[in-house]
Amino acid sequence: MVSSRWVPYLFLAPAILGLLVFRLTPIGIAIGGSLTGTSLMGDVRFVGLENFEVLATDPDFWRSLRVTLIFNLIINPLQVVVAFTLAMLVFEPGRGIGLFRTMLVLPMAVSTGLSAVLFGLFLDANLGPLNGFLHWSGIGAQPFHRSEHQALGTLIGIATWKGAGYWMLFLLAGLYAIPSTVHEAAAIDGATALQRFRFVTLPLMRKPLAFVLVADTAINFLFFAPVYILTTGGPNRSTSVLMFEAYRSAFTFTDFGRSLAISTVLLAIILIIVFLQFRLLRSPEDRA
């Protein structure tokens, strides 16, 4: 007869095994692999921090780092704000609101890769409908992802188009979780809509917002598919995010040491930023 003390751990075991195999082991391999180099004939040897030293003097890496940070600095707040705005807009019941909610969430059904291909055609300089419309309306055709000044913005736009609906769902659930009695009490006390938003909605949305921000940040730091499909890091390295550099090092140049070193740096950055986000979004009660 199994002692009842061990039963909870047995129930946890599959989940922990999954965490170990699919999360911790690859991270361990990545960090360990970043300390190795491979010879032409495939022999792996330990090289210590050499890969990181080479990265530190590599202008391509610093460029990637800058592009990744700028990309995330813009897209994370942007997506959260857009998702929140959409959630607020579709929160109020009304005729056809279900239709709007569905349409906003629909981009989620398209895979990231496919949406990149579709936008590639949609935004094409010669054949794309958007440029056709811009030309007709007098604004003039735009190069979008073929211009080093517009490419990053274009990718931000595509990612937001795809992700806003998805995050909106979480925030919508958060809005629904706020008891209507609290809103009514505030209204009775004479609060305007704006005051209700600031003093009732926002504080009570702290946890859903924290979740969305942290999850979105982690996903956006790993942004890859549209870069690979649409811009291959260009034009002029303007969209060369760290994930793409890591991919190219591994699969075009089979320089796995460098690729894993970049992945390790990316992991460290994400951990730091997520930690900071959690600290900043702690509610006052937790801080005590």
Partner: protein
């Protein structure tokens, strides 16, 4: 036994039986796994069908688009497994695969047949005097032009005589007259934007594109001569606007030519087959242009086939590769893709039939006089990747010098592993 447990065991037993049955089937026939280019199925399957029917060996070709093919090969070869058995080798990458032990020395396999080959076609498959990959053909480029658009503009048609080929300046002038933005018509473009297509530009001016050791890009890829030529190239698209900017997807430039939206197009001989599907297209060919005062240079080199030394089916792999030296196979392959043949026999047999076409007269001249293979270096993957990105950036308007300097330093960084 409980009902659920009984059903589970029954299901498992039937799956196991199916598996064993399937396994027994597979043991009967050998299958060769062969990564291949994503050419249209009707240009690949007929070839493999012939081999399958003749020998009973199944060929499982995986047709992958060019970028995916290279990446898939890198991943699989780096794993140093028994797969793939045989694979398509991009000519200039032979050295890169050979130096890392991914190709079998083919001397014992096809050594006796090499005398039947056009000698220049074997060059790219050779590394340190050993043949590691067998050429399936070579390549050459032609200038295709739209007779209707020329007639409408009243411009005399370019000559098909290699001695009278256009200079780049002449082509520029003609292209300007044939560019009509109002109807989305362009005067000229290259089929693709990559080193294979564009290195002839600096080479025509005598610019060296890589160091003699085969590993140094700084001072060559970013030399003043290279910057000059690539600036001229950029101006075609950004200043004179004679071609579509940023069109890098394969096939789009071909479609534009087929739709009568492009007056002049420099592309490979495979277009002689590919353009047949455009019923409204009336085209002719002329030789590849050159820089006045320089030498005419044309791209060359094509796909080869090689054997993974670790294959578990060595005898069948070798037999398959040897089959590609036969006259019938190469003749069928020519019918399918029209790559200039690497076997002398095909040239001789068709001298009075296929090759009387003016296009082939030009091709023969180019192959004998102007064809210049790409730089021979084990670091060709690295060299080509960065230079291709630089060329695409330059076409879309990046600062030429910066793009080339950056490409050179990135190439040199990745070449460290070979020095």
């Amino acid at each position: 036994m409980s009902i659920i447990r009984r059903h589970f065991l029954q299901g498992a037993a039937s799956l196991a039986a199916l598996g064993a049955f399937g396994g027994a089937q597979a043991q009967g026939t050998t299958t060769l796994t062969v990564p291949w280019m994503a050419w249209p199925e009707n240009q690949v399957r007929p070839l493999m069908d012939v081999y399958e029917k003749a020998t009973g060996v199944k060929i499982a070709e995986e047709r992958l688009p060019i970028d995916e093919l290279f990446k898939a090969l890198e991943v699989r070869l780096t794993a140093r497994n028994a797969l793939p058995d045989v694979y398509l080798v991009d000519g200039p990458l032979t050295a890169s695969y050979a130096i890392r032990g991914h190709l079998l020395d083919l001397a014992p396999v096809v050594g006796s047949e090499l005398g039947r080959y056009v000698p220049t076609t074997l060059v790219q498959g050779t590394w340190r005097d050993k043949l590691y990959s067998l050429p399936l053909g070579t390549s050459s480029q032609l200038m295709f032009y739209n007779k209707k658009l020329f007639a409408e503009a009243g411009i005399p048609l370019p000559s098909a005589d290699p001695a009278k080929r256009l200079t780049w300046d002449e082509l520029l002038e003609i292209a300007k007259k044939l560019t009509k933005p109002a109807i989305s018509q362009f005067g000229f473009t290259f089929e693709s934007v990559n080193p294979y297509q564009l290195l002839p530009l600096p080479q025509s001016r005598g610019v060296k594109v890589i160091g003699d050791d085969g590993f140094t890009a700084a001072g060559y890829v970013d030399s003043p001569g290279m910057i000059d030529v690539m600036t001229w190239y950029q101006q075609m698209y950004q200043v004179h606007k004679i071609g579509p900017v940023g069109t890098f997807q394969t096939g789009v430039t071909q479609e534009m030519f087929g739709a009568n939206k492009l007056a002049m197009f420099i592309g490979g001989t495979w277009n002689l087959v590919g353009f047949a599907k455009f019923k409204d297209l009336d085209y002719a060919v002329a030789p590849h242009p050159y820089f006045a005062g320089g030498k005419p240079i044309t791209p060359t080199g094509s796909w080869h086939i090689g054997i993974n030394p670790r294959t578990s089916q060595m005898a069948q792999a070798q037999a398959f590769v040897k089959w590609f030296t036969t006259r019938d196979t190469m003749d069928l392959w020519f019918n399918l893709r029209q790559y200039p043949p690497s076997l002398k026999q095909i040239w001789e047999e068709r001298a009075k039939t296929t090759f009387v076409d003016p296009a082939w007269a030009i091709v023969q001249h180019e192959l004998a006089n102007t064809a210049t293979p790409r730089p021979a270096t084990p670091g060709y993957r690295e060299y080509e990747s960065f230079l291709k990105i630089a060329m695409q950036d330059i076409q879309t308007g990046a600062n030429v010098k910066e793009a080339l300097v950056r490409a050179a330093s990135s190439i040199d960084r990745e070449m460290r592993k070979y020095r």
